[in-house]
């Protein structure tokens, strides 16, 4: 077998792209760790960029890549269901703070969807982009499922979700400090709702109470936003 024939074989086998996906993730994770896990150096974004570059370099189409990577992708479904375990484990906190949590969860979820869609629409973004940006504050697994159910483009949503996570994790501390908000439960809940897992990781680094409330907000919003979007979106799209 010549090297060329070997490459032709490798490029089409699921094994190669599955291995490449894990390799890219390990490299990206090592880079993020070396950068002290600052939100701006996001391992998922780096892994996507590395693999996207590799596809372009080797002239491989996305479908060929996905034939291998789908084995990882499949686990996203059961992992989404698994989010129910930590959400349930935090229910005692919900009972103790029921009204502040319920009210801010509902208002926050609506503002997150409506403000993103309306601003993008005012700036002339097409319908596909408006659908993809609607669930941008929800954890990526759920957000992509929401976009897919609406007939949108899940990969666009993935990138917008990660960007939202990074943004929220960066602006929350200066914003809340400037406003003089010292209630770490409220601060954590806000960043978990607006910026899901990336915001939650940032909140844990600031204060443990903020981290717990951020995780709680991320979990609750993963249930509320998918229920809110189908009702809100037709009206927002005009």
């Amino acid at each position: 077998m010549t090297p060329f024939h070997l490459w032709v074989y490798l490029q089409t086998t699921p094994l190669f792209w599955l291995t490449a996906t894990l390799a890219a993730f390990l490299v990206a994770d090592a880079l993020a760790k070396a950068a002290g896990r600052r939100p701006i150096v996001n391992h998922v974004l780096i892994a996507i960029a590395l693999l996207g570059g590799l596809l372009k370099l080797t002239g491989t189409d996305y479908q060929t890549y996905f034939n291998g990577a789908q084995f990882v992708h499949f686990l996203l479904g059961p992992a989404t269901v698994a989010l129910g375990v930590p959400i349930y484990a935090n229910f005692a906190l919900v009972r103790r703070n029921f009204w502040p949590l319920a009210a801010s969860l509902l208002v926050g979820a609506v503002v997150a969807v409506a403000s993103a869609v309306l601003v993008a629409r005012a700036l002339g973004a097409p319908r596909a982009v408006l659908i993809a940006i609607a669930p941008k504050s929800v954890t990526a697994a759920v957000a992509m499922a929401v976009t897919e159910a609406l007939g949108g483009a899940p990969p666009l949503t993935a990138v917008l979700v990660i960007a939202t996570g990074i943004l929220g994790a960066i602006i929350v501390t200066p914003l809340m400090d400037a406003l003089g908000v010292s209630d770490y439960a409220a601060r954590g809940f806000a960043v978990g709702l607006a910026s899901h897992g990336i915001g939650t990781a940032g909140a844990f680094a600031v204060d443990p109470v903020a981290g717990v409330f951020a995780g709680l907000a991320m979990g609750l919003n993963a249930i509320v936003t998918p229920a809110v979007i189908p009702a809100l979106l037709p009206w927002l799209l005009g």
């Binding site: 698994a82 009204w99 990526a140 249930i223 998918p226």
Partner: protein, 127 residues
């Protein structure tokens, strides 16, 4: 571990069937997630268990294992963005403005309502 993974897949399957069968607008895995939370709440009423017991159970272990690698799991779908690079370039400004404005607005609305309602209802603090 296998039993835990089975429970997760079974809830996903029921969620998918419910989403399609009843034409619900929410995605199947999200319905499975909500059902799991409801079933755990009901189960606790008949057979009390604590957080440690849940974490140590087959379900708790399978969930922890999957959630530990969750960031890896959205890489394959995320790589699909290579199909949308020209759209992203065209819409870069609109997207950047929308994300910054919306993220700030969401943070402000959430923290504002949280503090207001907490004051109105006199809820006890975090602990």
């Amino acid at each position: 571990m296998i039993r835990g993974f089975f429970i997760l897949l079974a809830f996903e399957l029921v969620g998918e069937v419910a989403a399609r069968g009843l034409a619900l607008p929410a995605p199947g895995p999200v319905i499975g997630l909500a059902l799991l939370v409801i079933v755990l709440s009901l189960y606790r009423r008949s057979r009390p268990f604590d957080e440690e017991a849940l974490a140590a159970s087959d379900l708790g272990q399978a969930a922890r294992g999957l959630l530990a690698v969750l960031p890896l799991l959205f890489v394959p779908a995320g790589v699909g963005v290579v199909q949308y690079l020209s759209l992203l370039r065209e819409q870069a400004l609109a997207l950047a403005v929308a994300l910054v404005v919306s993220t700030a607005a969401t943070l402000l609305a959430t923290v504002g309502v949280f503090l207001l309602v907490k004051r109105l209802t006199g809820a006890k603090g975090a602990a």
